[in-house]
């Protein structure tokens, strides 16, 4: 499912006479976070297992294999997953990640006016600009 093209909103929750949905930014960000954790885990497994199994405990009298001048255990265990992670980042960020509007800074004022703990819902008074996506 590509969130960029997602048109359905999360399930509604009617309470106190108001209809509400989980914040779409939260839903998308949480979904993306899970994917990032999976990629992090895959890179971790790849690098650690590859490097440990092919780069550690090698017999001293045996020359280290090289790829483009780099010890092969580093090339396949670090550089290749690194480049693949870059490739994934490019695809993920430029083609998959939802371009959510992030809001307009509707929190309490920050300058020179009382800022009570919690949320007041007052409009901003500090001249913070709108989020570009929202406008």
């Amino acid at each position: 499912m590509d969130p960029r093209r997602e048109s359905t909103l999360p399930p509604t929750d009617s309470q106190h006479g108001r209809s509400r949905i989980l914040d779409p930014v939260l839903v998308h960000a949480r979904h993306e976070t899970i994917i990032i954790f999976v990629v992090f885990g895959l890179c971790f497994l790849w690098s650690v297992t590859w490097c440990y199994s092919t780069g550690y405990g090698l017999p001293a009298d045996q020359p280290v294999a090289k790829v483009f001048g780099v010890p092969s255990w580093i090339f396949w265990g670090v550089i290749v997953p690194w480049l693949l992670a870059d490739g994934f980042s490019i695809w993920f960020c430029l083609s998959y990640m939802a371009l959510d509007p992030l809001g307009e800074g509707t929190g309490p004022p920050v300058d020179g006016v009382t800022s009570p703990p919690g949320l007041s819902g007052q409009p901003p008074a500090d001249g913070l600009p709108d989020d570009g996506e929202a406008s």
Binding site: L9, D13, R18, S19, R20, D23, P24, V25, L26, A29, E32, T33, I36, V39, F40, C43, F44, S47, C51, G55, Y56, V64, K66, G69, P71, W73, G77, V78, I79, W82, A85, S89, I90, C93, L94, M97, L99, D100, L102, G103, E104, G105, T106, G107, P109, V110, D111, G112, T114, S115, P117, G118, L119, A125, D126, G127, L128, P129, D131, G132
Partner: protein, 657 residues
């Protein structure tokens, strides 16, 4: 290793840099920084002061956001400590840094969009602001403020010291600087606080401090961000330049790795340096002197390098060290053990023939006498019999870099400051590519440095400027050394300015405005901000005048500690509705206490500021586990956050849609 003696060897290297090129590079660089800050300062007019000064009005575009994130994360450690480790332990450092493959994705992607949104919804401009408003808890905000100020202050002192040392290296061969050292030396020596440091260090510390405090103070967040952009560009350019020169001069990477494979780790000795006959006049044996002599057993010749400056006084035949406080006769020397290097390196010419009589030898705990240790795991280690990077530590570091990076307050502030989602997505890609172009070439450059600059273990922290000077001089463009060394300087500066602002925002916004004077007018806040930034900067300078003995370890402790304290509360707070204030406090204090305890127990066991490593894992890993476990447990036991807060932050009202 002898600081003053080490610097003397830099004079020799410095001669190759070509006159005042380094000074010219530095002056141009500093002027550019001030021009940027002046322009940024003009932006402050006509806008809400705190929002603009501390967060740039949430208006960062792609390049500014990407470069400030990248430059702030890459501190002096990336350009001083990391090259030193690569030089000392070889290719295994690529595995050590492998977590950076996902660093941008994790540190920016995990929380960036959601944190930015929550900060907009609440009007937060600092990290404690976000936590306070998310959990509807003023005490939690105050606790976050306290911990941030504590950890960042420790970090700031270390970075000021690093900045001063790099600047000193950069300017060492500049005649004007040498004259200033001589002129001001007597004056400094009469002042109680200043008498313990060399005049050169003090001049550089004050120069660095004035520059960075002035532009940060005047220009605020925009000045920091835009100078970060320039500093990031200088860093990238410097690394790429060194990478090309290193590969070209060594004759290809394949050749370099083959030579590295033949190398064996050096040995450290305590030895007597002796002349055959009593000296007719004082004979100075500078730091880094190469001494060759036949083997005792009639085998291959041996090659030593002095790790301390020494002198044979007139009428004596045995040398004594010249470093402050070293009155002993024994001198620390390094012995190169790779036969090919022993044959290649020429001994230093001295007025009298010196021989080395070894008294005590310290072999590497792992890798001694073994060929190939610099191209295999776990890498040689002088102190650890399991090698530099045993599996458990490799696991630790792969997790350490991205997770701790994701919990850094300096990164949080930047994630609150980008202008929209498109900027955010493009910036992650930019930082990913930038880090690939920085970190992998750094490994290549400084493995090659082992070939060009043998015996640098005696001053490994200076390998970065040494390699810059060597490569540019060998290529016939010594003036470029200033630019390359400026990359390291830029890395420190870009981190210092960010942390300076982080601490002053914590004091002005989170302490003064929140707790002392909520109705303070803008003009008062503006003046207070300038004063606080100045005071914090001056305090950091005072700390760097006489830094604590274990400063490097304190910096490592502070970097890991702040990540441990903030990662779980922020991460769970942004994504999990049920996570509450008591759970966040438990996660913060649990992580803090576990991390600190492992260091304190280590101090009791080892007698120095070194952590206990449970199952050989870095303290950050168990501390994060405890932080998470306590956060979940206490959340389960305590009531949820007020419904109104959760409704605002986690839901969207569609009644009217």
């Amino acid at each position: 290793m002898g600081g003053a003696a080490g610097l003397s060897s830099w004079c020799l290297l410095g001669e190759a840099t070509g006159g005042n090129a380094a000074l010219v590079s530095f002056i141009i660089y500093t002027i550019a920084v001030f021009l940027i800050a002046a322009f940024a300062g003009r932006l402050l007019k006509g806008k809400g002061f705190l929002g603009e000064y501390f967060l740039g009005s949430r208006g960062l575009g792609m390049w500014a956001f990407a470069m400030t994130f990248a430059a702030t994360s890459a501190s002096g450690g990336s350009f001083m400590g990391f090259p030193s480790l690569i030089y000392t332990h070889g290719w295994t450092l690529a595995f050590w840094i492998a977590g950076y493959a996902v660093f941008p994705l994790v540190t920016m992607g995990l929380m960036g969009k959601r944190l930015n949104q929550v900060a907009r919804k609440t009007g937060a401009i600092t990290v404690p602001d976000v936590l306070r408003d998310r959990f509807d808890s003023a005490p939690l905000g105050a606790l976050a403020t306290l911990l941030i100020v504590f950890f960042m202050s420790v970090f700031l002192v270390g970075q000021f010291k690093a900045g001063a040392l790099i600047l000193q290296t950069l300017l060492l061969d500049v005649p004007l600087f040498q004259t200033a050292q001589q002129s001001l030396g007597h004056w400094f020596s009469d002042l109680p606080l200043l008498s313990d440091q060399t005049p050169g260090y003090l001049i550089c510390l004050f120069g660095f401090a004035v520059a960075v405090i002035a532009y940060t103070c005047y220009g605020g967040f925009h000045a920091v961000v835009w100078t970060d952009v320039m500093q990031g560009a200088v860093m990238g350019l410097g690394v790429v330049l060194m990478f090309v020169l290193a590969i070209w001069q060594v004759g290809g990477l394949d050749r370099a790795t083959s030579q590295l494979e033949k190398m064996t780790p050096p040995r450290m000795h305590q030895a007597y340096l002796e002349a055959a006959q009593p000296a007719e006049d004082d004979v100075l044996i500078p730091f880094g002197t190469w001494i060759a002599q036949p083997s005792d057993e009639g085998g291959a010749p041996r090659l030593f390098r002095t790790a301390q400056a020494a002198v044979i006084e007139r009428g004596a035949s045995q040398a004594r060290t010249t470093g402050a406080g070293d009155a002993g006769q024994q001198v620390e020397v390094l012995e190169v053990t790779t036969p090919e290097e022993v044959a290649r390196i020429k001994a230093t010419v001295l007025p009298v023939k010196i021989s080395v009589r070894v008294v005590q030898t310290e072999d590497y705990a792992y890798g001694a006498g073994q060929r190939g240790v610099y191209v295999r795991g776990p890498g040689p280690s002088a102190t650890d019999s399991a090698g530099f990077l045993p599996l458990s530590l490799a696991v630790s570091y792969f997790l350490f870099w991205p997770l701790i990076g994701a919990g850094q307050p300096g990164n949080f502030v930047r994630l609150m400051a980008f202008n929209n989602s498109r900027t955010f997505a493009r910036a992650i890609v930019t930082v990913a590519i930038y880090y690939t172009l920085i970190y992998i070439p750094l490994v290549v450059i400084f493995t090659i440095a082992r070939i060009f600059l043998p015996g640098m273990e005696i001053e490994a922290d200076r390998i970065m400027p040494a390699m810059a000077v060597y490569l540019t001089a060998a290529a016939g463009v010594p003036w470029l050394a200033g630019l390359v060394v400026a990359a390291a300087f830029a890395a420190v500066m870009s981190t210092v300015d960010s942390f300076l602002l982080l601490i002053s925002s914590a004091v002005v916004r989170d302490v003064y405005q929140r707790h002392l004077d909520p109705t303070a007018k803008e003009e008062r806040l503006r003046r207070l901000t300038y004063v606080v930034t100045l005071v914090i900067g001056v305090a950091a300078v005072l700390g760097a005048l006489n830094p604590p003995e274990y400063l490097q370890y304190l910096i490592i402790y502070a970097g890991g500690g702040i990540g441990v304290v903030l990662l779980v509360p922020m991460g769970l707070g942004l994504y999990w509705r049920r996570f509450n204030g008591p759970g966040a406090v438990a996660a913060m204090l649990g992580g803090f206490a576990t991390h600190l305890t492992l260091y304190l127990v280590g101090f009791m066991i080892y007698g120095r500021f070194h952590p206990v490593r449970l199952w050989n894992f870095d303290p950050v890993i168990p501390a994060l586990a405890v932080s998470l476990a306590l956060g979940l447990l206490v959340t389960w036991l305590a009531p949820p956050t007020a419904r109104a807060v959760l409704d605002r932050l986690f839901y969207r009202d569609i009644s009217a849609e």
